[in-house]
């Protein structure tokens, strides 16, 4: 393709999330084929789960998969889990939107301004690896133990992947695009909105994808620590009530939810970044 040689370096050099998500680069038949193989693998693992619980592993904490499925359809469980998941997803999405919004805004600021970058990057690097449980006690002192605290924890977890990716994307914006905006005498605000943000979207989406998976995990962990709602609380309660079938029912639903969330964001990404993927192929 004509433009390949000149456009290569406008693309993100690394897409860290791709490997983790197992994106299949090829198109057509091979994708379909590997998807079937993937499904078979999941079915095989579920079968192994069933067999291991029936014949090899004798523990109250390891019920056969069939019992987990039955628990899911028991009267009341499905309905309860619906509300449990609704509460968690609401918390997660609130934290995600706040964290991602802040991450993008700060990422743009840091990406554009060298002074800010040098001032803030040590702090970012110090805060970034903090584990959620370590974050909770000081946050309880500041924000109590309700949604404000848990939402903050989720937003905090979401913030850094988005911020770092955004800043990287902003710095990688093709200088010619910025010069083009300048020669048309577009101001700072229009340059950011019309050029820098769209051009950084491939990076921003990488951050968003990592963060979305993280947000779900952190939401569940936060709910395990405090509060009477959500998946995390349900998991804890069922574990302590020795109702492992219900617990795994929630775990299975959690896995499905995670898969669905990723599917959604990848679909949105494919749509929004059509121009980007089309250039790559």
């Amino acid at each position: 393709m004509v433009m390949q040689s000149t456009s290569d370096d406008t693309l993100p050099p690394t897409r860290p999330a791709d490997a983790a998500r197992g994106r299949v680069p090829a198109l057509g038949a091979r994708v379909g084929q590997s998807r079937w193989t993937g499904l078979l693998l999941v079915l095989a693992l579920l079968g192994l789960w069933e067999l291991s619980a029936r014949f090899w592993v004798d523990s109250a904490n390891w019920p056969p998969f069939s019992r987990v499925v039955m628990a899911l359809f028991e009267e009341g469980t499905g309905r309860e889990l619906f509300f449990v998941f609704a509460a968690s997803l609401r918390l997660m999405l609130t934290g995600f939107v706040i964290g991602a919004g802040l991450g993008i805004a700060l990422g743009v600021a840091i990406g554009l301004n060298r002074f800010l970058r040098e001032m803030l990057s040590p702090m970012v690097e110090l805060l970034r690896p903090l584990p959620v449980p370590g974050l909770v006690p000081p946050l309880i002192l500041l924000l109590g133990i309700d949604a404000a605290m848990k939402g903050t924890v989720v937003a905090f977890a979401v913030l850094f992947p988005v911020l770092i990716n955004t800043a990287q994307g902003v710095r990688a914006v093709e200088p010619t695009l910025l010069d083009t905006a300048r020669t048309f005498r577009h101001g700072r605000a229009r340059s950011i909105l019309a050029v820098i943000l769209p051009a950084s979207l491939p990076y921003i989406f990488s951050g968003l994808r990592i963060s979305l998976a993280l947000a779900l995990i952190v939401t569940v962990v936060a709910e395990m620590i405090a509060g009477g709602t959500g998946i995390g609380y349900y998991l804890m309660t069922m574990q302590y009530a020795m109702r492992s079938a219900e617990m795994y029912a929630a775990v299975v639903l959690l896995a499905v939810t995670g898969y669905a969330l990723n599917f959604i964001i990848v679909s949105v990404e494919r749509r929004v970044l059509r121009w980007y993927f089309a250039q790559q192929d």
């Binding site: 004509v2 406008t10 010069d179 905006a181 019309a194 051009a199 121009w275």
Partner: protein
């Protein structure tokens, strides 16, 4: 439409990494007057600082010394009425925007025209470059020549009084290049903006220009300026057959391949 404007460079110098051991003098004392409505081409060997020269003229880069003035007003940033056509259309078009939205990028934020008015206005320029049917495609769905035509339409939509062209025809094939030459000449003759082109392609320089300035290799200076004196309108078949064309071509190729003889 306003007439073309004048551009004056007076003793412009440019050093990179000034004051450090790796200091590199790119431009040495460049003075050049571009007349209103004139098509002036600066030719020079590869790596002679042609792009640096043009970016300083456009206010995109600061000169180390000297002054640039547009219609007598000093340039200290991209001035109004000036548009820059970049060499690499793939880097200057917005890949997430359709062709028409790329053209609209030139006029966004100007006046309070409605979306529809703006679109209609920009469609005229797409028609001029023959791309009206491709308005809703994306740049990456078009060939290289078509993409550069989008960039040209966008440049003209800004209604420039002076258009700076930074080797805009260098990354397309020979036939496409000729078509683009025809097109730019026609648009220039219709609209009478001032045109300042930099290129290393001698045929292109002779074919398009009223005047040609020859740039030496680094540190660059203007060796001489030549009136082409070729009749207009130019024709892609007959013009290159004129004795004057061949004479200019011969002379320029010689001077560009033996720059040291001239500098001495």
């Amino acid at each position: 439409m306003q007439d073309g404007c004048t551009l004056a460079l007076d003793g412009v110098t440019k050093s990179f990494s000034q004051g450090r051991p790796e200091e590199m003098m790119a431009l040495a004392d460049i003075s050049l007057d571009v007349a209103a409505g004139e098509f002036l081409t600066v030719v020079g060997p590869s790596g002679c600082g042609k792009s640096t020269f043009l970016q300083i003229a456009a206010g995109l880069m600061e000169a180390t010394g000297g002054a640039v003035a547009l219609d007598g007003r000093p340039v200290d940033g991209p001035p109004g009425g000036l548009v820059y056509l970049f060499q690499q259309y793939t880097r200057s078009l917005l890949p997430w925007r359709t062709v028409i939205r790329n053209v609209e990028f030139a006029v966004e934020g100007r006046g309070r025209a409605s979306r529809r008015e703006r679109r209609e206005f920009c469609m005229e320029f797409l028609e001029m470059v023959g791309l009206a049917d491709f308005a809703d495609r994306y740049p990456w769905q078009l060939s290289g020549g078509m993409q550069q035509r989008v960039a040209i339409a966008r440049a003209l939509a800004a209604e420039p009084r002076i258009l700076l062209l930074d080797e805009p025809f260098s990354s397309v094939d020979a036939l496409t290049r000729m078509e683009l030459h025809d097109m730019i000449l026609k648009l220039w003759e219709d609209r009478r903006f001032t045109a300042l082109l930099v290129t290393h392609d001698v045929d292109e320089a002779v074919m398009l220009s009223d005047r040609i300035a020859v740039l030496s290799s680094r540190p660059s200076r203007i060796v001489e300026t030549i009136e082409t004196g070729l009749p207009r309108p130019r024709d892609r078949i007959t013009t290159p057959e004129l004795p004057r064309f061949l004479e200019l071509r011969h002379y320029l190729l010689e001077s560009l391949t033996k720059p040291k003889d001239h500098a001495a």
